[in-house]
């Protein structure tokens, strides 16, 4: 009997650790407190603030496929762009209701995610990377071609977004837009948090770490990867719709390779697969970009490039990873 006791103990400990993960910690309130504080502290930067909140949601969606499911994608702008164009085209053609616009964007992006995922997720490695890239590139060319609907290279103009619930008008100072983005981000974050802490989320991590074993224990690997891909696409679509509705403009750049690449950079600066990387990396990147890129885009590219090389060589796991390692070290002492 004695050989069973440790394993029973171990099981109890595992279950305890698992439920601890799902309980809310005090530090999880921090991003939201900071976001509300930022509203009062920087009333002149609310437009930038709303953009940051929307892009955090986009980064969360990428974290879900990349950090948890281990699907390396260079084409997530596809879903961001589909969401942005869906909400944009609706608003430009007489349906400016924002909430249903978000839902339509989520559905459209999820459909594209399902369809493309069903085709491309059967590949791995470089081939998969190429497929994600090619899907986004095809949508880019289509959006460019369909200028009657999308405005092509000139961008989609003439969007008019109605007040939220018919009550809160999008004002020129961006007060409404800021809280709108904040609330949508909060909901999106709850969705992602619940997903990664569920047994479904754990099985995704299992697939990332060892596909062979997950197959061996009978997990429906292909189905789970497809579901998380579509879910992530929907979230990315919502993020794109948020950007479109708050900026009242959609340009072709919502679909380009640079967007797919820079979202990876932002996420990696913060830390991948930790749920909070997006909340650190995106604001850092976008505030720095706002400060430096306007003045001189050339220098901006230089420094961001240098930062990327530096992070990969010295800061494994991003800022969040480094902080976690430092904390772990201090706890040991």
């Amino acid at each position: 009997m004695s050989h069973l006791t440790p394993s029973a103990d171990r099981r109890a400990a595992d279950i305890a650790a698992f439920s601890r993960r799902h309980r809310f910690h005090w530090f999880e309130a921090l991003p939201w407190l900071i976001a509300v504080a930022a509203y009062f502290a920087f009333p002149n930067y609310l437009a930038l603030g709303s953009q940051i909140l929307a892009i955090i949601l986009f980064a969360l969606s990428v974290d879900l496929v990349l950090g948890y499911a281990g699907i390396v994608t260079l084409g997530h702008a596809a879903f961001f762009g589909v969401g942005a164009y869906t909400a944009g085209i609706l608003a430009a053609n007489g349906w400016g209701e924002p909430i249903s616009g978000l839902l339509a964007a989520a559905i459209a992006a999820a459909c594209i995610g399902l369809a493309s995922g069903w085709i491309i997720l059967r590949t791995t490695g470089l081939t998969l990377l190429m497929q994600t890239l090619v899907v986004a590139a095809m949508l880019y060319e289509l959006a460019n071609k369909a200028y009657r609907f999308t405005g092509g290279a000139d961008g989609l103009q003439g969007m008019s977004v109605w007040p939220i619930f018919g009550m809160f008008r999008f004002d020129m100072f961006g007060n409404t837009a800021y809280f709108y983005c904040l609330i949508v981000l909060f909901i999106g974050w709850l969705v992602v948090r619940n997903t990664v802490n569920s047994s479904f989320g754990r099985s995704l991590t299992g697939i990332r770490e060892n596909v062979g074993r997950m197959h061996a224990i009978g997990a429906p690997v292909a189905q789970r990867r497809l579901i998380v891909y579509a879910l992530s696409a929907a979230l990315a679509g919502v993020a794109g719709a948020l950007t479109a509705q708050t900026a009242q403009f959609v340009g072709l750049n919502v679909l380009n390779l640079e967007r797919s690449g820079t979202i990876l950079v932002m996420l990696i600066i913060g830390g991948i697969g930790q749920l909070y990387g997006a909340f650190i990396g995106v604001p850092l990147y976008m505030i720095a970009q706002d400060r430096f890129a306007e003045a001189d885009p050339t220098y901006w590219y230089f420094w961001i490039g240098l930062a990327m090389v530096f992070i990969v060589v010295f800061l494994r796991g991003g800022i969040f990873g480094v902080v976690e390692r430092l904390l772990a070290r201090s706890r040991k002492r």
Binding site: L66, V72, L74, I119, I120, R122, T123, T124, G125, L126, T127, L129, M130, Q131, L133, V134, V135, A137, M138, E141, L142, N144, K145, L257, E258, G261, L264, V265, I268, I272, T298, Y299, W300, Y301, F302, I304, G305, L306, A307, M308, V309, I311, V312, V313
Partner: protein, 290 residues
């Protein structure tokens, strides 16, 4: 009828010229990916640097075309050796994501550096007098420079094939692609082999960038804008082979020219669609190893 025939010849000719440039640039990428398992997105940056160095030597110091090209290749090879020893080496066989991030960073640094040094305008490419104008091949005339490009490409492809199939170095590369551990076991110095292959690949990219400056114009975003094309050639061709990228480059070069001739408003859409289908059919590329 004669019109259609003439268009086909024209598309084939320009497609072939594009294919040669794509092949020269991409073959090094294919070999480094197959050999070291390294996704080097910054490979196009070496081609871009080659183009910049060549046009700069030609316009600023009036260096003749051939010498300028040689200078550009040597310059890029030196830079690539330094980068390989300092940076790339740490990531061989490592995490895909780290490689993607680091090489994207290198692309950004290169874009900023060339804008700083040479300014944001497209670099002019003026072929020497002997290579400009048209050449009459009996049944019709073709642009001389592109004809030269195709001949050059064909010679280089043959040389490269001979180097890989008939020399000791080539045999070592093939051995290491097939089975890295076994190659190390029988005493091949793979670290030095990696450096040499990397330098060779980068040099070929610089050559492609310089020679092809007329087809793929030398602009600051060269490495990012053409990246998809280089990756398509490598992924469709199959990693670690030199024959695969050649077939893929021909396919991509000619079909891209044809699609852009038939339906220019769709841009590169069809070439992406073709890539997707080919990759589903041959997930390891046309000539990939299993």
């Amino acid at each position: 009828m004669a019109d259609i025939f003439s268009s086909i010849i024209s598309v084939g000719f320009h497609g072939l010229a594009l294919a040669m440039v794509l092949y020269l640039i991409s073959v090094g990428l294919s070999v480094t990916m197959g050999l070291m398992g390294f996704i080097n997105l910054a490979h196009g940056a070496f081609a871009m640097l080659g183009g910049y160095l060549m046009t700069w030597l030609m316009s600023r110091y009036d260096v003749p075309f051939g010498l300028a090209l040689a200078g550009a290749v040597i310059g890029v090879v030196l830079i690539s050796i330094i980068l390989e020893r300092l940076l790339y080496r740490r990531f061989y066989g490592g995490d895909e994501l780290d490689q993607v991030l680091m090489t994207m960073g290198l692309i950004f640094i290169t874009i900023a550096s060339v804008t700083y040094i040479w300014g944001p305008v497209t670099q002019p490419m003026r072929p020497p007098a002997a290579l400009s104008g048209q050449i009459d091949l009996g049944f019709r005339s073709f642009p001389t420079y592109r004809t030269f490009l195709i001949v050059c490409g064909a010679i280089l492809v043959t040389l490269l094939w001979l180097a890989l199939e008939r020399t000791r170095f080539g045999a070592q590369v093939r051995a290491a692609v097939d089975n890295l551990r076994m190659a190390q076991t029988i005493g091949i110095n793979t670290s030095r082999l990696f450096a040499a292959t990397f330098a060779l690949g980068s040099g070929l990219a610089a050559l492609g960038g310089g020679l092809g400056a007329e087809i793929l114009p030398i602009t600051t975003f060269y490495a990012l804008e053409n990246l998809v094309y280089f990756l398509i050639v490598v992924a469709v061709g199959g990693l670690g082979s030199i024959r695969g990228p050649f077939v893929a480059a021909l396919l991509v070069g000619i079909s891209d020219t044809a699609f852009k001739y038939i339906a220019p408003e769709f841009g590169a859409f069809f070439i992406y669609a073709l890539t997707m289908v080919l990759l589903l059919w041959f997930p390891r590329g046309l000539f990939g190893r299993t």
